[in-house]
């Protein structure tokens, strides 16, 4: 039943893609059929995943596949279901959203048929990745996903920045894939590539396999410093696709990492440390880089790096919990990390859709050119605000629950067996401090983003002329915003869902936790939800009381108090760059802001310019130099193809002699 549903889902995607690709000449049909097939493809998969989580238990099916050592093995267990649900729901919602978002392109006479074809392939690829039970099938899904998302990024390829982004994305994703290929080749040494038959060769150092998995899947997930493609590619894609890529596609990296770490066996402590360190680094670097941006979508992309960092902190604590023998830390760490996977999918896709709506209506992604949109786009503004609060981990929204669990994992490390396991408490401290710093900075970043874009007065005519987006774009955002709140309030219901998933992961690592104590820890979720509800209720009562008081009073409207200045103008508002400047300045070692400033000259300076941008430090200082060094080296190597026939003949002779000397 469940495998059949999954197969139906995947086949729907796979079959509709070529059909859509052929509709290039018939854009009307494509723009209807595209979202319809995407949603239709998602539904059976969602049903299957929900059934699995609802207790139908793991199910799998195998069919033979004619490609050597391939097998059409798909399966759904709790872990797959947990990843498949956000993948499919976000894909479906983003499809509906993209229908409206692409109307603009259609009105310019561009065919969206290829877009929808790639979109279906992307969704199908992601689903395949989460349900494949054969390494070759997994790779197929993985590569289809990468290729389809690359082609989607290239949708606006007339823009040189988009082409650059696509190129960086492709390079990064390929380097990741190369590592995964290596990993699978090692694990599949015995011949079969079925997941349950994969194993490390005897005496092969597991550490190398771990590093391959970490780099391979971490590139997709976006751990610092493997993240450089992310802030390039996500903003470049059409916003619906950004929502899918940032919201769920990068999670396949997390999924793959978890799935294959389980195959690698009992983790030594240093794996956990690596993940924890990567998590804290990604979190802090991600959020700081986001703070320095004034491109809204780029900012959101950096936040994906940050949130992947938070997830990695959770998983790192989980691994450490296993290897240090602190079951509570293991349980809570995985629970928090996995819950955050779901939560981040919800609010990040929401935020990208919000940013996309803003972009669609104003034509700009530059925060400092916007402002005052909350009056003009009220629904978008409310949704974006919800997402902002959720991503900052604030109650009563969903982000709070997952961060709470990760904190609890850290506390478990700190306190439970404190005296005996100093490593556990160090990890706990690192996670606590890191999360706290990340949380504070995230709040700074999202007050900046939300405040500058939606509040105050419009800074440019683009923003002033904006209107609310239409229903097809609004509805998915409202659904996701509602989901943020609902999950946040559904703590009591979350525990029975997340518990079995974590149990299965721990079982995969060969670690069993007495379910009683561990599940008790999830009780904190219920309490947190109750507290969240209390905040809402209290706020409502206070507001009601305050409104009642004001009802009989005289209220009037006046201009904003300008401290005596009589004619304030919108351009005098605080800009996002100024807002973030103190923090960015403080962390100048991590984020390098470049300033371009023309000194005003002469007695009556006509015009002058000031602008800042913040390129990625890793790209500037790490990848660019390395790549150009390679390029120089290769250029030097061109000398051997100098055009002289004589020497070519000499090469032949030299090769002959070398081989004779070597082999005779």
């Amino acid at each position: 039943m469940i495998p059949a549903l999954l197969a139906l889902s995947i086949l729907t995607f796979a079959a509709s893609a070529p059909v859509l690709a052929m509709l290039r000449r018939n854009p009307r049909a494509a723009s209807r059929l595209g979202p319809a097939t995407a949603v239709a493809g998602c539904i059976p998969g969602i049903v299957a995943a929900i059934l699995t989580l609802a207790g139908a238990g793991p199910a799998s099916a195998t069919a033979s596949w004619s490609v050597p050592s391939g097998g059409l093995s798909i399966g759904m267990d709790a872990l797959s279901a947990l990843f498949a649900i956000p993948v499919l729901i976000v894909s479906a919602l983003a499809a509906i959203y993209s229908r409206g978002y692409l109307r603009h392109a259609e009105s310019e006479g561009r065919s969206t048929a290829p877009f929808w074809a790639w979109y279906d392939l992307l969704a199908g690829g992601m689903l395949l990745v989460t349900v494949a039970r054969n390494a070759l099938l997994f790779l197929l899904g993985w590569e289809v996903m990468a290729l389809a998302s690359f082609l989607l990024v290239m949708f606006d390829a007339h823009d040189p920045r988009v082409r650059r982004a696509g190129w960086i994305y492709l390079v990064a994703t390929h380097i990741g894939t190369a590592c995964i290929l290596g990993l699978f080749a090692i694990l599949g040494h015995a011949g079969s590539l079925e997941f349950d038959r994969l194993a490390l060769p005897a005496a092969f150092p597991a550490g190398i396999a771990f590093v391959l998995a970490f780099v391979g899947f971490g590139t997709k997930a976006g751990f610092v410093p493997l993240h450089v493609w992310l802030p390039e590619a996500h903003p470049a894609a059409p916003s619906g696709v950004s929502a899918v890529m940032s919201g769920v596609m990068i999670k396949t990296g997390i999924y793959g990492l978890l799935r294959f770490l389980m195959i690698l066996g009992t983790p030594p402590a240093w794996w956990g440390w690596v993940l924890l360190a990567a998590g804290v680094t990604s979190g802090v670097v991600g959020v700081l880089s986001a703070l320095a941006q004034h491109d809204l979508k780029r900012l959101l992309a950096y936040h994906s790096v940050e949130n992947i960092g938070i997830i990695a902190i959770g998983l790192g604590l989980g691994l450490l919990g296993i290897s240090l023998g602190i079951p509570a830390m293991a349980f809570l760490g995985f629970a928090g990390g996995l819950l955050h996977v779901v939560n981040h999918a919800v609010f990040k896709s929401l935020l990208f859709m919000g940013a996309g709506s803003v972009l669609e209506r104003t034509g700009t992604r530059d925060i400092d050119h916007l402002g005052g949109l909350s009056k003009r786009m009220p629904a978008t503004s409310l949704c974006f605000m919800t997402g902002s609060m959720a991503i900052c981990g604030l109650p009563p929204f969903n982000g709070f629950l997952s961060e709470l669990l990760i904190y609890l994992a850290a506390f478990a490390g700190l306190s439970a067996t404190a005296a005996r396991v100093p490593a556990g408490s160090t990890a706990g401290l690192l996670a606590t401090g890191g999360l706290a710093l990340i949380g504070g900075l995230a709040l700074a970043c999202f007050t900046k983003a939300f405040g500058t874009v939606f509040l105050g007065e419009p800074r440019t005519p683009h923003a002033a002329g904006a209107r609310e987006v239409d229903a097809s774009m609004r509805t998915p955002m409202i659904i996701l915003a509602a989901a943020c709140l609902c999950i946040g309030l559904a703590g009591p219901a979350a525990a029975p869902v997340i518990g079995p998933v974590v149990d299965s992961v721990l079982a995969g690592f060969g670690c069993t936790v007495s379910t009683g104590t561990a599940h008790d820890a999830l009780g904190a979720l219920s309490a947190a939800s109750v507290a969240s509800a209390a905040i809402l209720l209290l706020a409502a009562s206070v507001f009601a009381a305050r409104s009642a008081i004001l009802r009989n009073r005289r209220t009037s409207t006046a201009p904003t108090w300008g401290c005596g200045f009589a004619s304030p103008a919108p351009s005098m508002q605080y800009t996002a760059s100024s807002f973030a400047d103190p923090i960015v300045g403080l962390f100048g070692a991590i984020v390098r802001r470049r300033r371009r400033f023309e000194e005003p000259a002469g007695l009556f300076p006509a015009s002058t310019e000031f602008s800042t941008d913040t390129p990625d430090v890793y790209q500037e200082k790490l990848y660019k130099p390395v790549f150009s060094a390679f390029e120089r080296a290769f250029s030097g190597f061109r000398v051997i193809q100098h055009g002289r026939l004589n020497l070519y003949v000499l090469y032949i002779a030299a090769a002959l002699f070398a081989l004779l000397l070597w082999k005779l």
Binding site: K375, P395, L408, T432, G439, L455, G456, R553, I583
Partner: protein
């Protein structure tokens, strides 16, 4: 909930504006003035509640909604924290995070409301607010982590009660350092000197006050009361650590705690009177110092406990 817990909440709700009064009175004493009455804050709030309101034409529903939600958040924080030192089994695992993040929500809305006005001054205040708090949060949570390490608890109640006499005996230095760190956080979070000067009327130098320049009437009353409650909450955190070595319980503990909270007001007033407001560039240094103290405390605690 026992009577102790209930009383501690009620004390907070009722006495919070008094704490502000104590701070102001202390400062007046240091300055050689008579100063405003101790209950001035109550009068201010009552007066504001009776007034009408003026709203900026730029603002939206966010500006109107924010003070209410902010107050709700601080109230929840109070309910979570206030009974923790006196009530066994209060709260839940990780409720310290609820405290921190509820205040975070309050901050988000305050900042959003400030930005909603489109005023450059309020924008500047908001920028500083998030700047300070981004640094204060690690100091606070690492401090709590140290307490968790010492006490072995995960909820605020078990952390604050568990730090008790035994904790002071085994890791007293560490706890003292955490106390200092908490106090710095208190000053930063409540926009006190040396981070902010609540008395000044130069908009360019203010942090919290400048963010609420456009608030008026009942909304401003909510903001003012919320600020008092927030000061109370942080004072409870600091004071409970201070009274924990006394080994009291029941009403004695409640009384001592309340007294300590009010005395915290005196300390704050003293600090404000003897220190100058530090420059913007130095403020992060102080907070970083607080973080450093917390981490040092952690290292010490680990050494003491192992």
């Amino acid at each position: 909930m026992t009577i102790h817990g209930l009383l501690s909440i009620i004390a907070g709700l009722l006495l919070a504006p008094l704490l502000q009064g104590i701070v102001n009175r202390t400062k007046a004493v240091f300055a050689g003035r008579r100063g405003a009455p101790l209950l001035q804050q109550y009068r201010d709030i009552a007066r504001l509640l009776r007034k009408g309101a003026v709203f900026s034409g730029t603002t939206t529903w966010i500006f109107r909604l924010a003070p209410s939600i902010t107050l709700a958040c601080v109230l929840v924080a109070l309910v979570v924290l206030a009974p923790a030192p006196v009530e066994q089994g209060w709260g839940f695992a990780g409720d310290a995070l609820l405290l921190a993040y509820a205040l975070g929500l309050a901050r988000f809305l305050t900042v959003a409301a400030a930005l909603d006005t489109g005023s450059s001054f309020e924008g500047m205040g908001a920028s500083r607010e998030v700047f300070y708090s981004a640094l204060a949060e690690p100091a606070l949570l690492v401090g709590i982590a140290v307490l968790a390490r010492v006490s072995g608890g995960t909820s605020l109640a078990s952390i604050l009660q568990g730090a008790g006499v035994a904790g002071w005996v085994s890791a007293g230095t560490a706890l003292a350092l955490v106390g200092v760190s908490f106090f710095v956080v208190l000053l930063a979070e409540n926009s006190r000197v040396p981070f902010d000067d609540p008395n000044t009327h130069l908009e360019l130098t203010m942090v919290h006050e400048v963010m609420v320049l456009d608030s008026s009437g009942p909304d401003f009353a909510l903001v003012t009361y919320g600020a008092s409650l927030k000061l109370w909450v942080f004072s409870v955190l600091f004071a409970s650590l201070a009274v924990s070595p006394l080994g009291l319980s029941g009403f004695a503990l409640l009384g001592a705690l309340t007294a300590a909270v009010l005395f915290t007001g005196v300390i704050v007033g003293t600090v404000e009177s003897t220190m100058a407001r530090s420059s913007l560039a130095r403020a992060p240094l102080l907070l970083a110092g607080a973080c450093a103290l917390s981490i040092l405390a952690f290292i010490l605690a680990s050494r003491f406990l192992s």
